[in-house]
């Protein structure tokens, strides 16, 4: 009884918070792949974004990108370009667009789309890294908040 009430309360709060969040299917992207509006309606937190970028189970961006500011985190890859100075090369809307779905900025890129949720758009989508088929838990790689946090951190990368 108590437990049920708590869960209900929790889902109401989640529901209220979610109301301001732009769902993956509703993101407005311009013809160059930029996304002007914040996905949460609020600025992101660069320190949190830094964590998302270096955490393997989250963005894992350093698996493919070298970032001098993140040199304390081990094993930066070079499948993608170095992100040093990326805040000079792209404005916030462009950076958001690249993290949401880089395929719109770079046709055919190997960079994954971090905020695209529709299972139907993928070939044999899996349930995370289990090798099994996707189930109801399938969602975008990062949350709207995490995307905003990453964008905030990328914007700090100026030469």
């Amino acid at each position: 009884m108590k437990f049920a009430t708590l869960t209900l309360a929790a889902s109401l709060i989640a529901g209220a918070a979610a109301a301001d969040v732009v769902a993956p299917g509703d993101v407005k992207m311009d013809e160059y792949g930029a996304v002007a509006e914040s996905l949460t309606g609020q600025p992101g937190n660069a320190a949190e974004g830094e964590k998302v970028m270096t955490t393997r189970s989250l963005g894992n961006c350093v698996a493919c990108h070298q970032v001098t500011a993140l040199e304390y985190a081990p094993f930066h890859g070079n499948v993608g370009p170095s992100l040093d100075g990326v805040g000079d090369r792209w404005n916030e809307a462009e950076l958001r667009g690249i993290v949401v779905n880089a395929k719109k900025t770079y046709d055919g890129t190997v960079m994954p789309s971090y905020y695209r949720a529709n299972v139907d758009g993928y070939i044999r989508p899996g349930n995370a890294y289990t090798g099994k088929a996707a189930d109801d838990s399938f969602g975008p790689l990062l949350t709207a908040q995490q995307i905003e946090d990453v964008v905030a951190f990328l914007s700090t990368l100026k030469e």
Binding site: N60, G77, N78, P81, V110, P112, Y122, R124, G131, K132
Partner: protein
């Protein structure tokens, strides 16, 4: 193209020379003193790929890992070969036979076999991998239980047979009756699977030589299989490796022994036509 995209491309070009630190090396692989072909000209059927030459995964490993493969006394995969040599002579199943009952001496009868598999089996009307052929002998000729497709005993038996072709060039046929299967394998190779939308080519053709996290990406060749991996301390089969790579794209994998992986194995093997058979190799 907009201005920003141009700037990004310029930035990429400036960055390019720095990437050479991760290039494959130019060392020479000898196994027990015999020199292997680890770089070979591009096979004609890869002319529409981004590759200019084909290379063994050995070039992408560090010196210590490389050295372990150069002498059978240092190669942990050779212990499994010894086990399989015993299994070769062991009678199993209802027919009262061992492998040796039909094939006698493994050194003579299995020489050259690994180099041409997967290949067409006329009688069965199917493309057979070496694993399928091993299991077919077990069930049809010995009346024994099949090995699990990517199990330890299977990897060991494959390794024993592979050693007999060591140093011979991979030479799988891609035309005639196998052509359809080969095309199917090629299609799978270039399909971008999973939530990360990566194909085999995304990593092993477009990005070999680059680092993805701590891993130095190779061309994903299978001339060194089965491979002893330091990471899991056992011999690994081709389909076991395929499964892991597909899983890492956040995809639903195919099963070892599935028609998809058989087709993919034929296609990937053919991308190594001209490289020496080097199994069992050592990788991290």
């Amino acid at each position: 193209m907009n201005f920003k995209a141009l700037t990004a491309i310029a930035a990429l070009m400036v960055a390019a020379p720095a990437l050479t630190f991760a290039d494959p090396d130019n060392d020479t692989l000898t196994i027990n003193g015999e020199e292997m072909v680890t770089k070979a000209p591009l096979p004609a059927h890869l002319e529409d790929s981004m590759l200019t030459e084909i290379m063994s995964g050995w070039h992408f490993r560090n010196d210590d890992t490389q050295a372990m493969q150069m002498d059978d006394f240092d190669n942990p995969g050779m212990l499994a070969v010894e086990d399989a040599a015993a299994a070769w002579d062991t009678v199993e199943g209802t027919a009262g036979k061992s492998c040796a009952s039909c094939h006698e001496n493994v050194e003579d009868s299995m020489k050259g076999v690994r180099a041409v598999y997967p290949k067409w089996n006329e009688k069965a009307g199917e493309v057979r991998t070496l694993a399928m052929q091993i299991n077919n002998c077990r069930t049809e000729n010995m009346g024994a239980e099949p090995y699990k497709y990517d199990s330890g005993p299977m990897a060991a038996m494959e390794a024993l047979i592979t050693v007999q072709s060591r140093g011979m060039p991979v030479d799988v046929a891609i035309d005639g009756p196998v052509a359809d299967t080969w095309e199917k394998g090629k299609e799978i190779y270039y399909t971008r699977f999973g939530q990360l939308e990566l194909s085999c080519a995304s990593c092993h053709e477009q990005n070999y030589g680059n680092m993805i996290r701590a891993d130095h990406l190779s061309q994903g060749q299978i001339n060194g299989f089965p491979t002893y991996r330091l990471k899991n301390a056992k011999l690994n089969t081709v389909h076991g490796r395929f499964k892991g790579c597909v899983r890492d794209t956040r995809a639903e994998t195919f099963s070892p022994g599935s028609p998809e992986f058989v087709a993919l194995e034929l296609y990937v093997a053919s991308r190594g036509n001209g490289l020496s058979v080097e199994g069992p190799s050592v990788r991290n």
